[in-house]
């Protein structure tokens, strides 16, 4: 399993996603892409849904991809990767390809939680041998910060503006990781750009399984979250340390929380650093909403701990 040194060595050994892309300063996405691709020893083929990563990595006349890369549209990265993998399997059966090739789809939260969910579900259900990575920055950042079903409650977005009627987004975010778990695929993980070793470990572990492997990776967007550009890692770390974004994996149905904050911080610590939640810190009503937010985080964490206890297959300690 890699440590920080191996991650650095991998960066020197192979550059599958190069500098020179036009993602914003402080964007978390390239770190996620490089860490995932470098954790795969085999040749890879990448399918990329429409989104920030796609437009900023393939700007004329260059490309940041040192691997075969296909972009077609917004809703269909999972379907495209399924087609690639199915054709590869057929060619392998026919003896026309002999080596192992890995098929990786990258899509944002809009392209996965919303418009891409149908294609994702079909690909998971059919059991294609692929890796699907949702780079989750919690809104449609590429088109100018519209809310998605990954946007947390109370976050301001251009289509869930803060006003007298609504406190930012009125709804809870969808728990996509659990939706994917319900497809009973071999490997599901939640990860964060703040914990790259954890992410690399998860990708490596997943490769031993045949079938769909899914990763939901929290990736700070300084533009949409309205946070300082130099703070992407700190922001994501706070999301993990406050238990807002638990790091866990579900391996063949068995839950394991891969990082448990020893002294979890109140979720307020994560909220208060982001402009999209600024309105929660203005008045009493905001305080109530933060308390509700905290209660939801606590509830989800407890559920997760219970799932780990019930479904870990390991006896609870002490």
């Amino acid at each position: 399993m890699p440590n920080i040194k191996t991650l650095a060595q991998r960066e020197e050994k192979q550059v599958r996603f190069t500098p020179g892309h036009t993602l914003c300063a402080g964007c978390a996405e390239p770190m996620v892409v490089r860490t995932v691709l470098n954790a795969i020893p085999d040749p890879v083929v990448v399918a990329n849904a429409t989104g920030c990563l796609e437009v900023a990595s393939s700007r004329y006349p260059g490309s940041a991809w040192n691997v075969p890369w296909i972009h077609v549209a917004f809703e269909n990265a999972a379907a495209v990767i399924a087609g690639l993998e199915a054709a590869y399997k057929a060619l392998k059966r026919a003896g026309k390809i002999t080596r192992t090739i890995r098929f990786v789809a990258f899509a944002g939260d809009g392209g996965t939680y919303d418009i891409g969910l149908q294609a994702l579900s079909g690909t998971l259900e059919r059991g294609h041998d692929i890796l699907y990575v949702c780079i989750n920055n919690e809104a449609y950042m590429n088109t100018g910060v519209q809310r998605s079903s990954a946007t947390p409650r109370c976050a301001a977005a251009t289509t869930s503006p803060v006003g007298e009627e609504i406190p930012g987004k009125p709804q809870d975010r969808k728990d996509l990781t659990e939706i994917v778990v319900s497809h009973h695929i071999p490997y599901v993980a939640q990860a964060s750009v703040s914990n790259l070793i954890d992410l690399a470990n998860k990708v490596e572990r997943s490769l031993q399984f045949t079938g769909p492997k899914f990763f939901n990776v929290l990736a700070t967007c300084p533009l949409g979250w309205r946070t300082p550009r130099a703070s992407a890692i700190d922001q994501a770390k706070l999301a993990v340390e406050t238990r807002y974004w638990p790091l866990y994996e579900v391996v063949e149905g068995k839950y394991r929380i891969t990082y448990k904050p020893k002294k979890p911080l109140p979720v307020e610590e994560w909220l208060k650093t982001q402009g999209r939640f600024r309105h929660l810190f203005r008045d009493e009503k905001g305080k109530e909403r933060i308390a509700e937010f905290q209660a939801a985080v606590d509830r989800h964490w407890e559920e997760l701990v219970k799932k780990e206890q019930c479904l870990s297959g390991v006896q609870e300690q002490g």
């Binding site: 917004f74 809703e75 919303d114 088109t143 503006p161």
Partner: protein
């Protein structure tokens, strides 16, 4: 009393929707249309309207069908890739005679094309993008003022004729800021309502629009996208019912075309050469007319704002008078095909097609082409 506002085309469309009484909007973000959605996300809830962001364009348009049958004046906006996804819903809206408005702020295709660049490549798609024989109404603004006025007309036409109306804007119109004059009150056309149990999908005369009963108000209603009789009962193997329905759906639009036909004719009486255009290309055509006048060439310009059904008379008339008709458009020649059909050999029709990659057709390009023709 009139007020004046400075608006970009997209804002003018959103404001036009509000002035026309749109109270339901569902959409999905896409460049270069997102400002319409963002503007209405802020404005609609304050007026007691409903805004929601759908999970994709398919959900957006079908939620409009639901909202419209519940009695709302419903609208959405999108661009090429989203418009492609909405085609199924548009076909169902035509068949179920559901009033709704779809704004397509054109970008460059095919595929995801160029997202933030203007084109006019969706003209044929707007008319014929669905399977099956059909008519709907297509309007095309050339200015921010048009964006406002045509949105009001689109909502009114959709309601009165029980038909989906498409507004074809483009990125140049969408993001150009211009003054817009406002009336104190916009005219409002309502959809026909039944007085008692009347057939919601049948009419004794092709010009008559069958009354649309709101769901949940005591009327027995069966709504289906399959072939149906006057009461909405599915009739999927009756040749006569199918023929009558499909013919009537087209006839009702053609019978009322004068009510939503909008075009401008500039200097056509004295013209030696005619120019026919819509949207951003029409603005270049009007500028070219001035350039040509300086050189002593009299060009007449027809700016089409209703693109379907096409106002045929002004073009037939122009074709009789001029040496040639020029059709500048930001595509490979879609409007030209219709102008050729209408000119019917009376004069040559010359296309000036430009797949500009976001560049407009420049007035000098039109003027140069006209000079070539006149010479």
């Amino acid at each position: 009393m009139t007020a004046r506002e400075l608006w970009a085309g997209n804002i003018a469309i959103a404001e036009g929707a509000l002035a026309a009484g749109v109270d339901f909007y569902a959409g999905y973000p896409i460049t270069p249309s997102s400002e319409i959605m963002e503007h209405l996300a802020r404005a609609l809830p304050k007026r007691g309207g409903v805004f929601f962001q759908a999970e994709d364009e398919i959900a957006a348009i079908f939620s409009l069908i639901g909202a419209s049958w519940a009695g709302a004046r419903a609208m959405t906006a999108t661009s090429g890739p989203g418009f492609s996804l909405m085609q199924e819903g548009l076909g169902i809206a035509i068949m179920t005679e559901t009033p709704l408005v779809v704004v397509d702020v054109m970008r460059l295709g095919p595929g995801t094309g160029q997202a933030s660049r203007a084109g006019q490549g969706d003209l044929m798609q707007a008319r014929w993008g669905r399977h099956g024989d059909q008519h709907l109404v297509v309007l095309a603004p050339a200015t921010a003022q048009d964006c406002f006025d045509l949105t009001v007309l689109a909502v009114n036409t959709a309601e009165k004729l029980r038909v989906p109306v498409v507004i074809l804007s483009d990125e140049l119109i969408a993001h150009t800021w211009e003054p817009v004059k406002l009336k104190e009150q916009e005219e409002r056309w309502e959809r026909p309502r039944p007085r008692s149990q009347e057939p919601p999908f049948g009419a004794d005369h092709p010009a008559r629009i069958p009354p649309m009963p709101p769901l949940g108000k005591g009327f027995d209603v069966s709504v289906t996208g399959s072939t149906h009789d006057a009461w909405g009962v599915r009739a999927t193997s009756d040749p006569k019912i199918h023929r009558q329905l499909v013919e009537r759906l087209g006839q009702k639009i053609l019978a009322h075309r004068v009510e939503f036909t909008v075009y401008e004719a500039h200097g056509v009486e004295e013209a030696e050469v005619g120019i026919v255009a819509f949207g951003s290309a029409a603005r270049s055509a009007l500028a070219a007319q001035h350039l040509l006048a300086q050189q002593g060439i009299r060009a007449g310009v027809v700016v089409l704002k209703t693109l379907w059904p096409l106002p045929e008379e002004p073009m037939e008339e122009l074709a009789r008078r001029v040496q040639a008709l020029l059709v500048p458009e930001l595509n490979l020649g879609q409007l030209r095909l219709d102008v050729e059909r209408l000119a019917a050999g009376r004069c040559p029709v010359i296309g000036l097609s430009k797949v500009g990659g976001g560049l407009p057709i420049y007035p000098s390009e039109i003027a140069a082409k006209v000079q070539e023709v006149v010479r």
